[in-house]
């Protein structure tokens, strides 16, 4: 897994609540059996004026000029500012894959849908939770200042604005630790293989039917 320690970059807006995973990456692109290459179709239906197809080059497709992330001032944005319940809907990990491949390293929102939140960490994408009022403030500042840059510091758990204002955020220690060090979850869990075997043995005695093979 990709590590995340601290990142400074231009903030870009997705100024809606309940942005769902179909919006982040429409289903036709889920037909890929690869993990990469979803960035060009991130927010496809909002970003382009035509309908996107899998395996199609996006060069030359008509851009939606009214979609903020297409504005010159948000080019190269790597921190996404958005509203509550971001990433709701399906469990597709293609959503964080698309955001990451687009170039986002962190998201800032008042809340996230659970599965999306969880999936993001596995892909080096940091979903930061800040109070709604603070998010409002960041939106205002971003709209007011061209090239508005934020710093997201995972070591200190802080978001720092261009004027030096600091907002602390929280997240659980396990996720923080894994992301900071880019740890492989599976490898970590397999260190507990003995505990898993012991559990399995006990379970087999208590509830043998759980081990009936599926044929």
């Amino acid at each position: 897994m990709k590590a995340f320690t601290t990142h400074t970059g231009v903030a870009g807006p997705m100024d809606r609540a309940n942005v769902d995973t179909d919006m982040i990456i429409p289903k036709q692109f889920l037909k890929s059996i690869k993990r990469s290459g979803f960035g060009k179709n991130c927010f496809d239906e909002l970003r382009y004026l035509d309908q996107g197809l899998p395996d199609q080059s996006c060069e030359g497709r008509p851009l939606n000029k009214d979609f903020p992330l297409n504005f010159e001032r948000y080019k190269g944005a790597s921190i996404l500012l958005t509203r509550e319940n971001f990433g709701c809907g399906s469990s597709r990990e293609h959503a964080p894959w698309a955001l990451e491949d687009y170039g986002f390293r962190a998201i800032i929102a008042p809340s996230y849908a659970d599965i999306f939140y969880n999936n993001s960490f596995k892909n080096g994408l940091l979903p930061v939770i800040l109070d709604e009022k603070i998010v409002d403030q960041l939106f205002e500042e971003m709209y007011a200042v061209e090239g508005y840059e934020l710093t997201v510091d995972l070591e200190k758990c802080q978001v720092i604005t261009p004027t030096g204002e600091v907002f602390a955020f929280e997240l659980d220690e396990f996720r923080r630790h894994c992301l900071l060090n880019g740890l492989d979850d599976i490898g970590l869990t397999l260190e507990d293989a003995d505990a898993i075997h012991a559990y399995e043995k006990k379970l087999k005695e208590q509830s043998p039917w759980l081990f009936n093979a599926i044929r």
Binding site: D22, R83, N85, I115, N119, I186, T189, I196
Partner: protein, 472 residues
């Protein structure tokens, strides 16, 4: 001993290890796999030179990409016209074959939508932890199981370790008491719940659905409700085990038999929340007040009763919600104050993991019987949730009722629920759909989805617009 909720019991029984940092290792009993969210997980296993921990705990079936017409289905994977879909289904077959995983392949009569197949085959049982790389896995919670959707990295993790790294969620109780009115279905109950608590209402929670309404409900109905726990923001939804549960599981293919059955039933009887157990959040709804529901917007919380009108954003005080409503009205091509019964439908879709079980087929057929699809409706399709549902429905003659009415009877799969196969809405078309999501573009680019029960969808197919099925 302290009183425990059903979720507490399921969690405790599957705890392999509690770590100091608050995370835990949870043992997974059943892992269901489909073609969309698994290829990258299998690839990950291969790259790391890992093997599945317990292949006999895994069951796979393709559902999202499979075509639903008889002709396209006839020659199996080779017959799939869309080359990209074909590769994905083929990849699932290849992965299952090479890792030794049991798969109900495209034309196996047990194939179907993962969340229909799991309970129906007895692969998913009360008291189990069930995961699948699909958010509607919560459906299995109807069995009194802890079931939830996971991402692809977690699919790989569960394949490799039989465990999930998880954090205990909060306990939420949604209690619906009273008696449902005539024509009011489990779908209406869950839509009414989401309308009340919102799509983020259950974030961070496992929801237990309790109260008289759920005790009276069939297993199929409970599955419809648990299915949409995710639309209420909760990763897992569940219903306590009772006689209805046990009757349903009995004699299913993979259900325990003989002495094992008796022992299992003993254990399952305890899968209820103890008297006085603590819930972090409780929501109560009077079941008698619920009317047939229709969604008007682009989020499952944008729902009103069929007797209502499309709401007015001007009356919403929250500015973020207000702009959301305005945008939804624009996308849906509706205006505030328009009566729901004045909305015309272009297509009708009866199917999806929410409403494609035998009971749903029967309910829709009962409305359709002896009537004709309205000419203004371009296409109405009924897509059974699995090969077994299809066979049962055909044995009861339901397929003939639909086709006689001008409604198409299809092969099992996800179909127009998310339009990954050829079944989609055209731009601007309104659809009465029994699926679970009405997001922009969900059923096809520019398509407009209205979530309803199978009865309401069937009635709309006949009338050409939404009607109150109770008066139909």
């Amino acid at each position: 001993m302290t009183a425990k909720t059903l979720y507490d019991k399921l969690w405790d029984a599957h705890l392999v290890k509690q770590r100091d940092d608050g995370s835990a290792l949870i043992y997974i009993d059943r892992h269901i796999v489909h073609e969309v969210t698994s290829p990258q997980a299998f690839e990950g296993l291969r790259l790391a030179n890992r093997k599945p921990w317990r292949v006999d705990s895994v069951l796979a079936t393709p559902d999202h990409n499979v075509p639903t017409t008889v002709t396209e289905r006839a020659s199996g994977v080779d017959g799939i016209a869309d080359p990209v879909s074909k590769i994905q289904v083929q990849t699932l077959d290849d992965n299952c074959d090479s890792f030794g995983i049991t798969e109900f392949k495209i034309n196996d009569n047990r194939q179907g939508i993962v969340h229909v197949v799991g309970p129906e085959s007895g692969a998913c049982l009360p008291g189990m932890t069930v995961v699948c790389g699909d958010s509607h896995t919560a459906t299995n919670g109807a069995l009194g199981a802890l079931a939830h959707g996971i991402g692809t990295s977690e699919v790989e993790h569960v394949l490799a370790t039989q465990c999930l790294v998880a954090k205990k969620m909060n306990n939420m109780l949604v209690k619906v008491d009273g008696k449902l009115g005539k024509g009011v279905t489990p779908k209406d109950v869950v839509l009414a719940i989401i309308a009340k608590i919102g799509t983020a209402g259950g974030n961070g929670c496992a929801i237990e659905f309790g109260g008289q309404v759920f005790r009276d409900m069939s297993m199929e109905g409970r599955m419809t409700v648990c299915n949409m726990a995710i639309e209420a923001g909760a990763r897992a939804g569940m219903v306590a085990v009772d006689d209805t549960t046990i009757e349903y599981v009995k004699n299913r293919d993979f259900a325990p038999k003989g002495d094992d059955w008796d022992a299992a039933v003993d254990v399952w009887r305890d899968l209820v929340s103890d008297e006085g157990a603590h819930f972090d959040k409780v929501v109560e709804i009077d079941g008698a007040q619920i009317l047939p529901q229709v969604s008007w917007g682009t989020s499952p919380e944008m729902v009103v009763s069929v007797l209502d009108a499309v709401p007015n954003p001007e009356e919403e005080s929250d500015p973020v919600k207000k702009t959301g409503m305005e945008r939804a009205l624009e996308y849906m091509g509706l205006s505030a104050g328009q009566k729901i019964t004045d909305i015309h439908v272009d297509r009708v879709f009866i199917g999806s993991c929410t409403n494609s079980r035998i009971e749903d087929m029967r309910a829709a057929a009962a409305v359709v019987k002896g009537r004709q699809k309205a000419n203004s409706v371009k296409e109405a399709i009924v897509v059974p949730g699995s090969g077994l549902v299809k066979a049962q429905a055909e044995a009861e003659g339901l397929d003939e009722i639909f086709t006689a009415a001008g409604i198409q009877w299809r092969e099992p799969g996800c179909s127009m629920c998310l339009a990954m196969n050829a079944d989609k809405l055209g731009e601007g078309e309104h659809c009465a759909s029994t699926s679970n999501r009405n997001f922009e573009g969900r059923q096809g680019y520019g398509g407009r989805t209205h979530l309803v029960s199978p009865e309401m969808a069937a009635a709309a197919a006949i009338a050409g617009h939404f009607v109150d099925v109770r008066e139909f």
